[in-house]
């Protein structure tokens, strides 16, 4: 579904991604973790073309992301993305947030888009908030709306960028619950997170990054059981005893 082949990215002289390769198969959940500044978030932003890269290739559902003829808006409309800071549109109500892309990008009729939006809102347990504005919801609620917004486009896969979840533990749980359900339904997911519990529970594989490189790409049991690299061992011991 998503294949990343030898991708490198530079900001001027600074190399943010170095020769990264990995693969996410249909229905697979892959967690990407690593210390801050390791390039995790940049890597998943390359997957839907939000960040350009200088060499290598990323192919999503047989479409090359960096290709000169690629219709990026069309590709992005099929790849759901949830951002670290939610990035709901603050001047629109929750309902408007949920229908804008459905009507403008997919050409759905407003009432059809509204039905879909409300159904998804129900699914993330926020039906009562449809007419509120993002600024009136808690962080966890906003994050769930962001997930519903991405799902409203019927994506073929989902990207989650959650580097430093700015959420309190209770809220993390309500968001993770939604994500676990999504994974169980067979959604293909690439998730940047520090939530090792989540990784253990739902991820097929864990990709560990450091300084722009993929240091370790292992099955979840192997990664937690016996990480090969010293860097991943250090990281795990720190984050798990936290």
């Amino acid at each position: 579904m998503i294949s990343i082949r030898r991708v490198s990215k530079f900001y001027g002289d600074f190399q943010v991604l170095a020769d990264c390769s990995t693969e996410v198969k249909k229905g697979e959940v892959v967690v990407i973790c690593g210390p801050s500044g390791s390039g995790k978030s940049t890597l998943i932003k390359c997957v839907n073309g939000l960040e350009p890269f200088q060499s290598g290739e990323i192919v999503v559902d047989d479409v090359s992301v960096g290709g000169p003829k690629t219709d990026l808006p069309k590709l992005r409309s099929r790849v759901g993305m949830v951002f670290q800071h939610f990035e709901l549109f603050p001047h629109m109500t929750i309902a408007e947030n949920l229908i804008i892309a459905q009507t403008r990008v997919l050409g759905r009729r407003p009432n059809e888009a509204m039905d879909k939006g409300l159904k998804l809102l129900e699914r993330v347990g926020l039906t009562a908030h449809a007419e509120k504005y993002p600024g009136e919801l808690s962080g966890g609620q906003q994050q769930r709306v962001a997930i519903a917004r991405a799902l409203s486009m019927n994506p073929i896969c989902m990207l989650f960028d959650e580097r430093t979840s700015a959420l309190d533990p209770e809220m993390i749980n309500e968001v993770l619950e939604v994500m676990v359900k999504l994974a169980q339904e067979g959604m293909t997911m690439m998730v940047v997170t520090h939530e090792m519990e989540f990784a253990r529970k739902v991820a097929r594989r864990v990709v560990f990054m450091d300084e722009g490189r993929i240091v370790e790409d292992a099955r979840t049991e192997e990664f937690f059981g016996a990480p090969r690299s010293e860097r991943a061992q250090q990281f795990l011991s720190k984050i798990l005893h936290h």
Partner: protein
């Protein structure tokens, strides 16, 4: 002070007899309002477009817009007015230039004034729109694009509407400025409020009454604008944001 106050002068008939001095003044007020509103409409449209261009990824478009701002922001308003009114008609292709000069004199003055004030103010609106857009988190653009919106759609539905909500207060200042700046247009003979005030002095030799009346009319005008913009500000508030009162 031996000044002889005479407020009744306002209600006296003008030399030609068909109307009063107050009516002259009110026609000046009307001209000021028409000129300022049309120039403001123009400034909003052009300024928003240029403000957006200043922030687009395409470097050449952004530079073009930056150059535009520098030209219209760095030349005194009075000089710009003279260029539009006296110089440009001579430089235009003869057909256009003659066409302009054959228009009714008041239409010539009005057109030159509107275009001048419109472009001058648009450069300032442009900078505010740019500041508004740039103050939004980068993630907003990313989120819009990630949903499949095109760049123009992202601007139209996400960035610009939010940016405008943030810049209502400075836009109010610009809106007030345009009424005040319109007084400059009296220098090319347009009979707006300030010009009518001076004409009144010439005819009646009552400068204090004339200029006090003009001052009060400007104050009243801008008080109305301020009250109107306060309503706009209230409606533009985004719930959950600082200053939204919620």
């Amino acid at each position: 002070m031996g000044y002889h106050w005479d407020w009744a002068v306002l209600f006296r008939a003008v030399p030609t007899g068909e109307t009063t001095y107050l009516a002259w003044m009110l026609s000046g007020l009307q001209m000021t309002v028409m000129l300022s509103l049309s120039a403001w409409a123009m400034a909003l449209v052009v300024g928003s477009l240029m403000g957006v261009l200043r922030t687009v990824p395409n470097r050449w478009l952004a530079r073009l817009a930056a150059g535009y701002v520098e030209v219209f922001r760095n030349i005194p308003l009075l000089v710009q007015l003279f260029i539009w009114y006296f110089v440009l008609p001579e430089l235009l292709p003869p057909a256009l230039g003659t066409g302009f000069k054959q228009m009714h004199p008041v239409a010539q003055q009005f057109l030159a004034s509107m275009v001048c004030l419109g472009f001058f103010t648009s450069a300032r609106v442009c900078e505010q729109v740019r500041a508004g857009i740039q103050s939004l988190p980068r993630g907003q653009m990313h989120a819009a694009l990630a949903l499949g919106l095109t760049l123009p759609q992202a601007y139209r539905h996400v960035l610009v509407p939010m940016a405008f909500r943030l810049i209502v207060p400075p836009l109010t200042s610009e809106f007030l400025n345009i009424f005040k700046n319109s007084a400059v247009c009296s220098t090319i003979g347009l009979l707006e409020l300030a010009a009518q005030g001076r004409q009144l002095v010439d005819y009646t030799a009552q400068p204090y009454e004339s200029f006090i009346a003009v001052t009060l009319l400007y104050l009243m005008l801008n008080a109305i604008v301020m009250l109107g913009m306060r309503q706009v500000e209230k409606r533009a508030r985004v719930p959950g944001y600082i200053g939204s009162g919620k």
